[in-house]
Subunit: 322 residues, 2 copies
């Protein structure tokens, strides 16, 4: 049996997992990233995570059978060279040759993957996409990340930039997106987009429960608060999720026409809104996509939200060595 | 050396090509489809095309080394079973088991491919996309067809419906598309979309040269006529191509963010408008796509417009047998 280590370097936490090639999680460690303490501290935290999942392996044979370490990381990555050029939220992170550092330290090969791609691969391997060949993954968070799985592998495109699935246009002149352009799906349906729409609508709906829940402080609005209000019957909150479902549905209908995937997996905190979001989304997808393209389509929330990134990172190590 | 026959079953013509595995065209035949005469007549015309490219091969060895016949066809296709369920413009075409018919007749395997995918594969193999790995192809005609080449192969999706690239949404409530939904790229930038926009704009621009060229009969408007007027400096015609470039640019920018392809190939008659179309299109793509995703991107017109479908069909036969 072969083993691999997967590391998910997140803005808040580092999740480290030791897995076997059959997809079983052998050991797991979660620790805070403490990115504000800078590059060297984060590299040390990551190394500690790796050591922790290794140290309990009494069986030396396991250690010997580890094919590599996979690391899922945000920012700008060179997969081939093993360099992370930029890491958001970590000061003085500057072209870190991360695979050389850990290869030297642990004596095994190190492979990098983009965090959204890692999460997609993790969900494909042992999560919601298990058993499929072609999968689209949307990570609904502050922004909207994406991952494309084709024939069980991450599709990277010509130079690693493929899968920016949040940046499909829904309109010519919609709200401005973080990428600088108007009308991306991300500008409508990410947490930032949802909060912006909520603030606009609240101006004319002062009676909404959302106001009370944030005690009048609009900076406190989060998707979770909107969900809370919606579950208590607040009409504005319900409308906001309905609109969000519509926007996501428009994007997913395009993705169905383009990819004809077996499954679209939605990950990230927002999927907690569940049927509030999924119902209007499905309605739009059914209306807007080709019937043949969605004949057997599933749209499901992620199954392993906490571990998908690390699991996908471990799978990356398996795929690049075996 | 291995050989394959490629057939492009078009609405107007049937193109049949004999190729070797290195991509050299050995023999070629073009004949009218005469679809109005019905199924059996079309099947006979196709068989005649195949016989014609074969009969001049004095070298019996060539015939012996033919791996198969590939057929690129419009309509609804079952690739695995080798059935064409529907063929637009051919009466009484009803679930024709085309691969069984020709396999029996010629004694070699027969493989089907969708016509837009065939054209994409042909352009990838020996045309504008030669030497690339990942390519997107848009066929600009009455509608907008698409083909996705990943790692040198057509990407089909879960059940063969992938690649409907004309049906990416550009707006929530744009003009109605042939697919029934508002706002698809096809509704803006296909020949039908262009002619619709031209007619609208002509209402307020009675002095346009386009009026004269069609002798006041708006039914005679074609993209070629608009190009003719634009080349003579007609402002309205220039604006129409500029807008078309903008719409295509919006779609292609999304495709760059999604696929990060090495090349986008545009085929079909409309590419004759050339810089009238390509300049505004590139301007929009540069503005709207991620810099990394278009760093080395090429957008080129097809190189083998007449043969792409048949060449891709021959390549299909090679790929499925070798």
């Amino acid at each position: 049996m072969k083993y691999a280590i997967g590391v998910d370097l997140g803005g808040t936490n580092i999740v480290t997992i030791l897995m076997n090639e059959k997809g079983k999680i052998i050991a797991r460690n979660k620790r805070t990233t403490e990115g504000w303490k800078g590059k060297n501290h984060v590299l040390k935290r990551m190394a500690e995570g790796i050591e922790t999942v290794l140290e309990n392996q009494r069986d030396k044979e396991t250690k010997r059978q580890i094919v590599g370490i996979g690391i899922g990381t945000p920012g700008l990555v060179d997969f081939d060279k093993g360099i992370v050029y930029e890491a958001p939220n970590i000061p003085n992170w500057d072209n870190v040759h991360i695979s050389r550092i850990y290869r030297k330290k642990f004596g095994i090969p190190v492979f990098l993957e983009n965090d959204a791609n890692s999460a997609a691969l993790g969900e494909w391997w042992i999560g919601a996409g298990k058993g499929t060949r072609h999968m689209i993954c949307l990570t609904l968070g502050t922004g909207i990340g994406g991952g494309i799985i084709i024939d069980g592998k991450v599709y990277h495109g010509a130079n690693g930039y493929a899968g920016e699935l949040g940046h499909i246009f829904l309109s010519f002149d919609g709200p401005k997106c973080g990428c600088g352009n108007p009308g991306c799906m991300e500008a409508y349906a990410s947490a930032i987009g949802i909060i912006r729409r909520t603030k606009e609508l609240l101006k004319k709906n002062k009676g909404s429960l959302i106001y009370k829940l944030v005690e009048g402080n609009l900076r406190k609005i989060t998707p979770a608060i909107i969900t809370q209000a919606a579950h208590k019957g607040d009409k504005l909150a319900i409308k906001i999720w309905k609109d969000t479902g519509y926007y996501l549905g428009c994007g997913i209908a395009s993705y169905a026409n383009i990819f004809n995937p077996e499954i679209v997996v939605l990950t990230g905190g927002m999927t907690g809104a569940c049927s509030l979001l999924f119902k209007p989304m499905w309605k739009t997808v059914r209306k807007r996509a080709f019937k043949g393209a969605i004949k057997n389509l599933k749209i499901l929330p992620g199954k392993i939200p906490d571990d998908a990134g690390a699991v996908g990172a471990a799978k990356t190590a398996f795929q690049r060595t075996m």
